[in-house]
């Protein structure tokens, strides 16, 4: 191998640069919140979600979109759950009745994912749901 002029300095510089550049990752693994998952506040009180929790986790936006089209475009307001009970299809009126703490539920999860649905510029957050 040919000699590199000032090899030692260059290598040290490179190592220092890499260490500085990746420092946030090291910092996080050592001290931090690398495996941080937001804790969601769900008031269970014996009730179940509109559909299975596993379905809601991944597909609640599909359900909401379906509700929206049913109410606004088809004029239907009543949704039949799998167990036969009937509920009103309403974002503010139904979802937020149970998930009272929007900030610590919807917003916390969306915030973690960097997702901000634009629904709340029009849909009101009920008074009890506000903190």
């Amino acid at each position: 191998m040919k000699r590199v002029y000032d090899g030692k300095k260059i290598i040290t510089g490179l190592v220092l640069f890499l260490a500085a550049f990746t420092s946030p990752f090291w910092y996080n693994t050592v001290f931090g919140t690398f495996d941080y998952v937001p804790e969601l506040k769900v008031e269970k009180n014996g009730k179940e979600c509109v559909k299975r929790t596993s379905y809601m986790k991944t597909n609640h936006m599909v359900l909401l979109r379906f509700w929206r089209d049913e109410v606004v475009r088809s004029g239907k307001r009543i949704y039949k759950k799998e167990d036969g009970t009937e509920i009103e299809m309403s974002l503010s009126g139904t979802c937020l009745k149970c998930h009272k703490n929007k900030e610590e539920f919807c917003d916390r999860c969306h915030g973690y994912l960097g997702k901000a649905p634009r629904c709340w510029s029009c849909h009101n957050v009920p008074r009890e749901a506000k903190k």
Partner: protein
């Protein structure tokens, strides 16, 4: 088979066919619901400064009270006879009654021009005659505002939430960049309630009902009294009638 027998059987078949088809016609479902409103102009004239229906409607639908007249948002509002019925009134009537107040709202036309021009399907005519808005689909192009000959639609030029005096938490507000208008209280009709303006009027000047139902209040009034609609020459066929 003899010719005579053939004719007998064919005739019998023909008659029973006629009978059956008349029976099946009479069992046909009645015509669709067609919601309509009548407004008694004389009552509004007697109570010139009354704004009860307007305030009631705007309160439950979170319609903002924008101070700038160019950016006003209105679902129901008043104008004068002269302005509302420019071409329908004779010149002499204009002198005597031109300044009478007239209540205006979306006419929920049978033949709505706004629906034809909407590029996203955000506004359409429901089976029961209500011209609906889907705010989720509105892109704010304002073609519908240009097409509506009655000025029934308002645009949200900015975020108007701050101009809502008392927020009704049960009805969504609208954001900057969408067009809005009267929905004939579709959300109340679905719960068997009257439109809020009709319910709120302390003088019974407004009636609401199915125009295809012979016994509904508006169709009874329309049989008894003279009425006009706005700009009939345009062929939009409004479902809001003014009783004279």
């Amino acid at each position: 088979m003899r010719r005579r027998d053939f004719l007998k059987i064919a005739g019998l078949g023909f008659i029973s066919g006629l009978f059956l088809s008349s029976v099946s016609f009479s069992f046909k479902p009645t015509r669709r619901v067609r919601w309509g409103i009548t407004i008694d102009v004389l009552q509004c004239k007697k109570n010139r400064d009354c704004k009860v229906c307007i305030e009631a409607c705007h309160e439950i639908h979170n319609v903002p009270d924008v101070p700038d007249p160019k950016e006003k948002v209105m679902w129901i509002w008043t104008s004068t006879f002269e302005k509302a019925f420019e071409n329908e009134l004779g010149p002499l009537v204009k002198e005597t009654r031109g300044s009478d107040p007239v209540l205006l709202l979306c006419n929920h036309c049978e033949n709505p021009p706004c629906v034809k021009v909407c590029p996203t399907g955000a506004t359409w005519k429901r089976e029961d005659g209500i011209v609906m808005m889907d705010y989720h689909r509105c892109i704010g192009c304002r073609y519908c505002m240009a097409a509506c000959p009655y000025g029934s639609r308002s645009f949200n030029w900015k975020d108007n939430r701050r101009y809502i005096k008392k927020l009704n938490y049960d009805f969504p507000v609208r954001t900057k960049g969408v067009v809005e208008k009267c929905n004939l209280c579709e959300e109340r009709i679905s719960k068997n309630l009257l439109p809020r303006c009709v319910e709120a009027c302390p003088y019974g000047a407004l009636t609401f009902g199915n125009l295809n139902d012979f016994q509904s209040s508006p169709s009874r009034l329309l049989r008894e009294r003279l009425s006009i609609v706005r700009k009939p020459h345009l062929g939009t066929l409004p479902n809001v009638f003014y009783l004279l």
